[in-house]
Symmetry: C2
Subunit: 490 residues, 2 copies
């Protein structure tokens, strides 16, 4: 891939695409709308899974697996769900191929299914059909399940990771005896998502609740975390839904409560997806390529040996091996790039493009001085550090990169969050500066729809913190209980 | 689930089903042919994944993800592949649902796809279409990728884990510059599968190569591991395919070799699936329920506190907590079952049904004596062991269970492997005793087909070890180069 990465200032969308491709995170597939997640991208996903899965399990959740196929009739059971959600999907209608008279392979018309199957766009319906069989009494509750899987939503405007027909995600589905417990779970997961985004991804997020228009179809309330990308557009990075008793009613899932009365079960569902990889790229990367937070980087530190003569080669590689062993023994994910036939400068560029947080270079002079040259992917001076303290030096650099990325992203978000008190100012900020715009809202879908229609900005969320403030919606002139967050979004 | 487990001697098939259901490993789904993997079953799969994934990565493989949809035309590209394999499958023909005039939800005829998409039955075609874009030179080789995903093969005769329409698996796909390297890889993976089966699953296996009739469609050679179940039937537990240049030719994947000549790339593919969970159940379990090898057991040791009075309760739970902490700190997967309202005997039965390898009970007398009662799931005397040495006692018991299960399964296989020299003896052994039958084979598909037709036994494999021995095929009377392994199989 010899062509350069397009600068952000020139074409942000092309820059994103270039970074993803140059860092070998993903590739287009022969099936329009689908992507191939390449090893570099999948390793990121594995690290994300490990971080999230640990938090889910620490809060009592277990993993399970439900079928990929949903009977067509299931999707019709929850009215709001089908209306708002499940129309664009992959429909399986036949179960056999056959070679026709002309020698070509085609579907066998005789294999038409009695009922079409839908490739899951999400699993609430099949989960709640199952829970209705598993749950009889309050003793069977709560059920706290999660699954890691693939889902399909028909979508032709592909953007790798951000918008694809098939994507990987986790979907949690929990069942509770009381409204309060279910709401508590919904918010517990929202906190987990926020913690993961901030502590692992180094991506500051705003926790909030969606307006009715932006709510998940079938939910009573949708909570979300919203992040700001470098181009000033917002990205919804995770959602946690309080489903009330809607799916329990649709699938007749009742339980005997502690007072021996039959009651519908209370529900939540929640998910984050490979979209987070897109967010990670857009929040931290620069014109030289990918920038990764060390906690998620598949390779945290790379060692590049530098030598000309064969004699130097032996000494340099030996010193590099010692450093590699020390770092690996301390739990740092390290790679020694000893490939022959590639110049050090070429290797530097490659690891830079792939976002390795810390680069160590060792040449003959370093061997003589028992030092290593340490460079951080996020910039700053190169340092010469002693081999003896290499573990501490690298760990300190990794911590500092992790912290620095978060601080930088937070500063960017703060610089790009604007409070406005007039519709003109909202339009002006959206067009000139972008970012989050805090403005009073009267709480009606009517006002929200008008603004979306006229500005392409949506209410990203009603923030959970710092929302309440009496005021007036500048668009409708009606009273408002607080400022909501408007933005154009991915 | 109050009903008892059917004894093996009465109805082996029902026994298997009962064990899976009572241990809550899996459940049937509303979609015929698909299963729901419950948390106990999925936790087993997670432990299997961890074991295998570690071995794949230690041998240089990386994970990736390819799309779930395969264009219909791809399946037609490799002639043997489509002919032998890809006919019964889930065909996606439409991309939208709509609510009709009568108010019901149905497929929108206007959303018919230009080309049908097949839900992947396996990914060779889409992988090799992709590799043909990634590979230009010998420098791009080898490519050593694996993916963990779900696949679909249309199948209505469901048996949980053993035969389902959708299952979870891993599929490795590697690309090599030479035939030798590809063959080496094929056998390396076969060894990994055998090591995993024996060291983790405690399931002895025979490594071998398939006859042409049993080969994967599109492969030049299929290698396999074969295990023997308690009912004397064989179960193919993993396959590693040497694909030669077949898929490279079908997808025009050529590379410039070191001599600057264009050459087709050499390939392998290999997989194991959730079928292994079925194997695990059938190899080790007994009439009381699931029996698990400690290395894979989600819970390795459970602690059941026993008390009557409130005073005893406090002291017993405190002692149980101390034991729990010690075991957890040493890396043993331990659970303290302190649930109220369930009798100890009921808990004993539940953990027995679920296959927990070691059970610890602590009552008031144990508290006084600073002891714990230790019982192994695989039988043997209960022991009273001191709290002070509890970690060593439990670790020793776990090691002993792991080893004992393997030894027992090996003894069963040896007792049920019979060499015969006549067709009558083959039939007699198959009908009366079952198991593996070693008999000379002339190497022709004709003889193989006749035996399969007349006895329902297939050639499970030509063993890699101990095969060569000159002789005569008793069915055809033709010369044979060695004894192959016949059995009836799942």
């Amino acid at each position: 891939m010899a062509d350069a990465i397009t600068p952000r200032s020139e074409d942000y969308s092309q820059w994103y695409h270039d970074v993803v491709r140059h860092a070998r995170l993903a590739d287009y597939s022969p099936v329009r709308g689908c992507m191939i997640v390449r090893p570099n991208g999948y390793a990121l996903w594995e690290n994300m899974q490990a971080g999230l899965d640990g938090m889910f399990k620490a809060t009592g959740h277990r993993n399970a697996y439900f079928p990929i196929f949903i009977p067509q009739s299931f999707l019709a059971r929850e009215a709001a769900h089908v209306e708002g959600f499940a129309k664009e999907c992959a429909v399986v209608t036949h179960s056999r191929l056959k070679v026709g008279d002309d020698g070509t392979l085609d579907v066998d018309p005789e294999s038409k299914l009695e009922e079409n199957l839908i490739v899951r766009p999400t699993s609430e319906t099949i989960v709640w059909d199952t829970y209705s069989k598993w749950i009889q009494s309050w003793r069977d509750l709560p059920i706290l399940l999660n699954q890691w899987n693939n889902v399909v939503r028909w979508e032709m405007r592909t953007r790798l990771f951000l918008r694809t027909m098939e994507f990987l995600w986790q979907e949690g589905h929990t069942a509770h005896a009381t409204r309060d417990e279910a709401m508590e779970e919904t918010l517990r997961i929202l906190d987990i998502y926020a913690t993961f985004a901030e502590d692992w991804m180094a991506m500051p997020v705003i926790k909030g609740v969606k307006s009715a228009a932006e709510r998940f179809a079938g939910a009573d309330e949708t909570f979300c975390i919203e992040a700001l990308m470098q181009d000033g557009k917002a990205l919804q990075s995770g959602t946690s839904h309080f489903l009330g008793q809607n799916f329990a009613r649709a699938f007749n899932c009742q339980f005997q409560n502690r007072d021996n009365e039959l009651e519908y079960v209370w529900a939540t569902s929640w998910g984050v997806s490979t979209r987070l990889i897109g967010a990670l790229v857009m929040v931290h990367s620069d014109d030289r390529g990918l920038v990764l937070p060390p906690k998620l980087a598949p390779t945290q530190a790379v060692i590049v040996p530098i030598y000309r003569s064969d004699e130097d080669r032996v000494a340099v590689l030996e010193a590099a091996s010692v450093v590699e062993s020390k770092l690996r023994a301390s739990g740092i994910r390290v790679e020694l790039d000893a490939r022959e036939g590639f110049r050090p400068g070429w290797k530097f560029t490659e690891h830079e493009v792939q976002g390795v947080p810390v680069r160590l270079a060792i040449g003959p002079r370093d061997v003589a001085n028992r030092t290593v040259e340490l460079a951080r992917r996020d910039g700053g001076e190169k340092q010469s550090v002693p081999v003896d303290g290499i573990v501490a030096s690298v760990q300190e650099a990794l911590d500092s990169v992790q912290f620095g990325l978060f601080e930088k992203a937070l500063a960017h978000r703060e610089a790009n969050t604007t409070s406005v008190d007039s519709y003109d100012d909202l339009r002006g900020v959206l067009d000139d500066k972008g970012g989050f715009v805090r403005m009073h809202w009267d709480g009606t879908s009517e006002t929200e729809a008008r603004i979306k229609d006229e500005t392409k900005a949506t209410i990203r969320c009603i923030p959970l913190e710092g929302y309440e403030e009496d005021g007036v919606d500048p668009v409708s002139g009606r009273p408002s209980r607080g400022r909501v967050l408007y933005a154009r979004a991915y």
